[in-house]
Amino acid sequence: MPAQLSFTGFAWKNLWRRRLRTLLTLGGITMGIGAFVALVGFSRAFEHEWQRLYTSSGTDIAVVETNFLATALNQDLDAKLEAVPVVDKVSPMIFNLIDLTPDVNALVYGWQANSYELNSLNFVSGSRFHDGQPEVILGNLLASDLKKKPGEMMTIQGAPFKVTGVFHGGSALEDGAVIMPLDQMQVISSMDGKVTAFHVRLKPAPAGENYDAYVKNGEKEIEAAVPGVHADPAADRAANNGLVSLAHSVAWGTSSIALLIGILGIANTMAMSVFERTREIGILRALGWKGWHVILLILTEATGLGVVGGLLGIVAGWGALRILASLPQTASVVSTAVDPQHFIEALLIAIASGITAGAYPAWRGAHLSPVEALRYE
């Protein structure tokens, strides 16, 4: 059987005739998709870990002032919150991102020693802290990073603290966190009598009642009982909190720029290719190729670049995520488990990028006059 020529085979030969240009173009789209997979994957993993932070401890609602990062509520509101009929438990808390060493920063929580949230932690060694004492417990990732064990001392914001325990939490964020008594956290944060939020666990939903509707009702009851506060479902707080929003914004912004560069690379390659092949397109039209055949050929080439670049980008981005997950600075916020949906999205974006970038060159190629194209030198 003599060599068969297929439509895609023809497109491939057209791309491969300019190997260096094709490889450079692939490099561009690979970078764009790789950036998307790594950065957006990073921000989604961050959000996911944040959600687990709430769900693992059984928190249903976070009560805050207006802005999750800058919020400061009076601690004595806890009595009012506990009086709301639907509320089971209330945990006042402070959290902040603090530099522990020049290389390591960590989320630092202030909880009361009797907080229900402590019940969700599994102690690997040592035990809980005590209210009123300069004591801390460390997530196992952070303890390993800082090489600290129960009984040892560490300095936070210039003050000495004794490590009383090392725990494994419900999320990577907790595993990389420090938790200390709320009163100690109020001192080092200069928030005497204040908290950043109250985490609220609701009483079990009545049988047959939809959980979301039950939480929604809980929010209304809390906001009615305690004017001036926002009660948000824990999952929403995870998605909307300032750090997660910032991570999403940076990830999407950076990825979009990288993708735009990749798209422009493909567009440039395809425009150059159509320009160089003007006479060849004229030959194809003379042989009876319809305009849409030419469009299909050029879009196949552009989409091929997108697909191959996308697949390479997915591999590169996933590799970058794995590296981030193994670095001490980022291990606490990045999980190696990535939702396959994320890779599908990346591939669809790569295909869409190829089609977008090839659209104008394809249109131009299809609208060349056959006789003019044949005359083209």
Binding site: M1, P2, A3, Q4, L5, S6, F7, F10, K13, N14, W16, R17, R279, E280, I283, L284, R285, A286, L287, G288, W289, K290, G291, H293, S369, P370, V371, L374
Partner: protein, 226 residues
Amino acid sequence: MSSPIQKGPILEARGLVKSYDEGRVQALRGVDTVIEAGEYVAISGPSGSGKSTLLHMLGGLDTPSQGEVYFRGSQLGTAVNLDQFRSQQVGFIFQAFHLLPTLRAVENVQVAMLALSQRGNHRAERAAQLLEEMGLKDRMLHYPNQLSAGERQRVAIARALANDPAILLADEPTGNLDTANSAHIMEILRGIQAQQGMTLVIVTHENDIAQSAPRHIRFRDGRVES
């Protein structure tokens, strides 16, 4: 493979005018001609006389500024779709061969068939058969730059025949060839025309080729001279 020859006019040009540069340059100045099915016609004339422009219009590659071209009584561009006409009814042969440099000889022939819905193995078999008929059995997997000028033109003829057209339009097919290759190519074209009853229209500036055709149209200044 060939469809039965239908007698009567296969191509008809009526009052063809082609002007460029907002009418300041006229390549065709009112051309009327009728080409019968199965006819072998040579069109000759000096450079710039409009003979290639006429050939392009007869083949649906270009459209006239005024006038019409009819294929079997139906007007090109209105009753007859130009893309379909070029892919199914016409085979073009060019002076510069116009083979695609990235494709092997056998693939160049198949390119013409990609526009039609044919199975891949059928395309490959048909291309191989045509190249074999052109005496290129051993050159099928060669790229155009590995072929001589005469071989390239034979690949181009095979490509023109790929979709079993009713009409072969050849624009200076021997213009880039030496005497021996010219004679060989003309022998092939005449053979195809005679054996398959195909309509053959050749544009040439070579008198011996023009005069060897049963019908010879002389062109001058955009008009049929005789």
